[in-house]
């Protein structure tokens, strides 16, 4: 059952939405209407979705709390009145968020929230995958750089490089990635000189 926090300072609208959400089987764990309440309660309440008005001045506070949340962040779904229908259409087209208008039916609320959650989960998975791929690429680049520096300054061959870095990492109890960065930091500032011939130092 999705846990929802509603952030709205307009009592009538908040009531309407709360009833519609209740009807559809969602659990509205809180209705917040002030900066104080948002700061004190959002993280602790651990919502699955935060629902708020597109025009709310609290959006920046909500986003900051989300960014800092101990648990994984949740989607923020926004709603707006009919007069903002152009905003809503464009936002949906741009994939910004799912929007609910204030004259929507309870059933539509459910389908919008389901869509928002599914889309957000997909986005999060893709985002995590991209982050992991970037990280790997960066580590690969750093490794190649360390390799060429070690070969240049210590005359190591390819297979020795990996062994050397692993040894450094083990001895200093740091990750391979950190050892690679340290080696680069050290060797990168050395002046250019003749590469050592193999055998003078192992």
């Amino acid at each position: 059952m999705l846990r929802i926090i509603l952030v709205d300072h307009v009592a009538e609208r908040a009531d309407f939405l709360r009833q519609a959400l209740d009807q559809q089987g969602y659990q509205v764990v809180a209705v917040l209407s002030s900066s104080q309440e948002i700061l004190d309660r959002v993280d602790i309440l651990a919502p699955d979705v935060i629902l708020t008005d597109m025009q709310s001045p609290d959006r920046d506070t909500i986003e900051d709390v989300r960014y800092l949340m101990q648990r994984r962040p949740c989607p923020v779904v926004m709603y707006a009145g009919k007069k903002d229908s152009e905003s809503i259409t464009r936002a949906i087209d741009a994939g910004v968020s799912a929007y609910v208008t204030d004259d929507i039916s309870a059933e539509d609320v459910k389908s919008v929230l389901d869509l928002a959650s599914a889309r957000f989960r997909l986005f999060k998975a893709m985002s995590d995958e991209l982050q992991a791929a970037r990280q790997k690429l960066e580590e690969r680049k750093q490794f190649d750089r360390a390799k060429s520096l070690l070969m240049k300054h210590h005359g190591l061959d390819e297979s020795s490089v990996h062994r050397t870095l692993q040894q450094i990492a083990m001895n200093q109890r740091i990750s391979l990635s950190e050892a690679t960065n340290n080696v680069i930091a050290m060797l990168a500032v050395l002046p250019d000189k003749e590469p050592r011939r193999g055998g003078s130092k192992s």
């Binding site: 900066s35 597109m54 709310s56 001045p57 920046d60 506070t61 900051d64 960014y67 741009a94 910004v96």
Partner: protein, 419 residues
Amino acid sequence: MTVRLSFVPLTDAAPLIAARELGYFRRHGLDVELSRETSWASVRDKMQTGMVDGSLLLASMPLSLSLGITHGRIDIVTGLVLSLNGNGITVSRTLYKDMELTGLLADGSPAGAGQALKALIDHRRALGKPRLCFASVYLTSTHYYLLRYWMAAAGINADADVRFVVIPPPRMAESLDSGLIDGCCVGEPWNHRAVHEGAGHIVLAGYDVWNNAPEKVLAVRRDWLESNRSTYVDLTAALIEAAAWIDLAENRREVASMLAQQHYLNVPEDIVACSLTGQMLGETSTPARQIPDFHVFSRYTANFPWLSHAEWFLTQMIRWGHLAQGIDIRGAAAGVYLPDVYRQSAAALGIAAPTVNHKSEGTHSLTRMLDGVAHGPNLFIDNAPYDCERPHEYLVRQQEADRLTGRRERIGPVVHAMR
């Protein structure tokens, strides 16, 4: 052609508002609609969805949005800076009284405020009191970076001893009054609004943390810029002219009157006029502090998007963990701040533009002339210079100092107990 621009109600929206009210947009053949927003998130949405063609953004935001710090990446650029300074650091009356009791505020110097805060924080920590809470207007705001810089320069380990939150500008006064926050960094007129309501005391101007720091820029989506080059040039020409007009001291009262209107800032004119006329109000009994450069809209090459400014923001984003260490500072800055685009706008107006894209910051305390153009005072509160040729070294030095501050704070209480 109709151009839609958004802004958040702040005194430094003045160039946009004046350009509209005084007919500068019209004179350049533009029909401009201004859209007032209630949050930076809303401004961002409208930029992303094309509901607006451009907006007034915090100088750090085109960088944080392009790099996707709190949100998916949006390809936003800027070729025009619209204001320098304009912020204040305001604390609650309770915190101010406690700071006064340290005895370190007596000389009224900017440095005293940091010393007083540090002494107070150390005292509170020793007594086991809860952390102080300071607000800015957005996670990656210029305000947040000024607050962090100020506190770090004062030797405060803010990561451990201060809680940072985001509060919308119009709510700062009530938040100080209720005790929700102990202090904040926010743009005008919201500092003087707090003073007027008896909710707070301005201890420092943003100007004191870094003289003549960039504050607001005109941001547009890159694809809009590329499809609307000549409209963009007309738009920025109008804004450059408006900025020059409002920068003059003799016009500031009229600017205040324009901004005070209900559909713009909706704040009483005499509150808006304080900072615009270069005054920072203190207690009712004491004379206002004069800061002629409280708001700079045009002089000191204010409109030029210096790459060194963008790079400085990036060093601070890395410093406080908003960006990863290994990011290409130079490359990222040059992708977002576009000095050549500014040069095109300047050429259309027949005005000069700097011939270089970088300058070192924090290197002089007085106005000086460079290539026939006045550059205003430019010092950081700790007098540390920023060498524009070495952003990475600058960052590493600060991180080392931050680490030492953290260690000293942890060791402190142990040493005390040993005595």
